[in-house]
């Protein structure tokens, strides 16, 4: 990713008044979701706990609606992303990495103009030990409970 030139961003920005195309909110959510997953220190989206994991299992599709809020105004897009960060990570670094990834994902792939990306850390918990994301270098402190 990231091969698209920055011109697309400028083109979309100059056409902010009357965009020649529309991108559906759910597309933006999907792009943002894709960009965020796998970022070190990111555990899950807020609200996607046991209940919605179950919803996901049985084919629920609206799982991320509450944790990624998209506000569109012409070609200007504002996002609010609610996450659970890994315990022991630096939240601001995780959040900045998310902002960076989401920003480039959306700007490069949609040409839309990003107004703001707010990241809200709602909670913290241990990052799951997944084999698929081998590049996770989150420090996991021992829990004494």
């Amino acid at each position: 990713m990231g091969n698209t030139s920055n011109d697309s961003k400028k083109a979309a920005a100059s056409a902010a008044e009357s965009p020649a195309y529309t991108v559906h909110e759910s597309v933006i959510i999907s792009l943002a979701r894709k960009a965020v997953e796998g970022i070190p220190g990111f555990v899950r989206f807020s609200g996607s706990s046991i209940v919605s994991d179950l919803a996901d299992l049985v084919g629920g599709k609206r799982r991320f609606d509450k944790s990624i809020v998209v506000t569109e105004n012409g070609a200007d897009v504002s996002l609010e992303i609610l996450i659970v960060a890994a315990y022991g990570s630096k939240f601001s670094e995780v959040a900045a990495a998310i902002q960076k990834a989401v920003y480039h994902q959306i700007v490069d792939f949609t040409g839309l103009n990003i107004k703001t990306i707010d990241v809200i850390v709602t909670d913290t918990e241990d990052a799951p030990k997944k084999d698929e994301s081998a590049d996770e270098d989150v420090v996991e402190p021992e829990i004494v409970q």
Partner: protein, 153 residues
């Protein structure tokens, strides 16, 4: 099924805005906010990790259940966070085990909480008030760990 979960962000939950947002052309692309819920989780885990602390004050049975269903309510009852400008003041209610010196425990709680919160969030903790609400017998191997709290009042 899919819409059974509640809104992820309660409207009234206090929040701290922290610096360090990703910048494009020298301008931040947005804000980074940390909800108090995340801070109390840090406080909880830090305090529970300290040798000599039995648990946060409150019913252990209900606590365990609350943990299971991921309820924040019990946690919030024993951990209070007050916002003072950019800093926060934390009050935490704990039950230590018998045999630990309170001043030592308290000093350890204060230092660890302030460090852990600052490390992860970058938020300065201006004060940590430790409220010792009860004291407990350390459950030994054979005894059933009846959480018989002797109030120190």
């Amino acid at each position: 099924m899919s819409n059974t979960h509640q809104p992820a962000r309660p409207a009234a939950e206090p929040v701290s805005t922290v610096p360090g947002a990703y910048e494009v052309d020298g301008a931040a692309v947005g804000s980074i906010r940390i909800l108090d819920g995340a801070i109390s989780t840090i406080v909880k885990r830090t305090v529970l990790g300290i040798e000599g602390i039995a648990r946060l004050s409150g019913s252990s049975l209900i606590d365990d259940f609350a943990d299971l269903v991921r309820s924040k309510r019990i946690q919030d009852r024993s951990i209070q966070i007050e916002h003072k400008d950019q800093d926060i003041a934390v009050t935490v209610a704990v039950n230590p085990y018998f045999g630990y010196k309170f001043p030592v425990l308290i000093e350890r709680i204060q230092r660890s909480v302030a460090e852990a919160v600052f490390d992860m969030t970058g938020i300065k903790v201006s004060s940590v008030i430790v409220d010792i609400k009860g004291i407990e017998e350390r459950p030994s191997d054979d005894e059933t760990g009846t959480a018989e709290a002797k109030d120190s009042e």
